[in-house]
Amino acid sequence: MLASVYRNTAAKSLKSLVPKVGGTSAVSSHNLVARRFKSDDAGEQEESRQHADSLLNIIANSINSQTSGSVANEQFRMARGNFHRGDIYKPSDLNDSKPTTYAPPPKPVDQLKILKLNPIVEYKNATLLSHYITPLGRLMSREQTGLSAKNQRRVTKAVRRARAMCIISPTAKLH
């Protein structure tokens, strides 16, 4: 209630400062000048009007925030957890749309272990080994393959054997 009163009085006082469009003597007395620079004048008035509006908004908002029991504060309290007077919050606290914690990345699964395949025996199988090399023919790291340490070693050995035996290209992934 009080806030609205303050707001209105502030607005009124500011509005008196803004010159009205198509009014006052300053514009009409100098006709030639006014006609030539009419667009500029109108633009200036518009600009100043907008400036005033923004000022009003700023003042209105500051008035709102100063009063303790205002609607804005109530909303803030509801939004996310409990906010108390003097608390410091960041914009993301007021935003319920995004979660603050991210889901942990999925645990890597060793495919060869599940399938019970021995990669060393599959050194001839270019199709199988090509899953563990990059498009340029380089071996993938364990982070990329998701294999256990043991199987990663065996796959490395199988790939190097296949390269030596002219089954896989060392510079490309063909199969």
């Binding site: 019970k116 025996v121 054997r161």
Partner: protein, 115 residues
């Protein structure tokens, strides 16, 4: 007895008789030393992933074949010596598959290769 596998890449466009002779000779090396040849498998003529130089020649294609056998480890040495010198062979590798038949067979079933 240990299960071995000889993976061999021989020259393309060998006369059939010549190729048969090569395979037969390698099998005889194993058998004469008391080994057992389990399987002989042709893998076909293929474009090699990179150019090979062997016996003073460049090769871009090769005929791949496989021989699976049980033998003593001493037989492997003999095989390697003979194949290294043979002009029909481009690449060869004797790989130890394992000591147990079950492991090898189970793997083959999953990947669709015939043992």
């Amino acid at each position: 007895m240990v299960f071995y596998e000889l993976f061999c890449i021989s020259r393309t466009r060998l006369v059939e008789a010549n190729l048969k002779d090569l395979v037969k000779q390698t099998s005889l090396i194993v058998m004469n030393k008391g080994g057992v040849v389990r399987n002989l498998k042709p893998l076909g003529e293929k474009q090699l992933p990179y150019r090979i130089r062997k016996h003073q020649e460049y090769h871009v294609q090769g005929y791949q074949w496989l021989m699976q056998f049980d033998a003593n480890p001493t037989v492997v040495n003999e095989l390697n010596k003979r194949l290294k010198v043979d002009p029909r062979v481009l690449r060869h590798a004797v790989i130890r598959l394992g000591s147990k038949l079950e492991d090898i067979v189970a793997s083959a079933e999953k990947t669709g290769t015939r043992v």
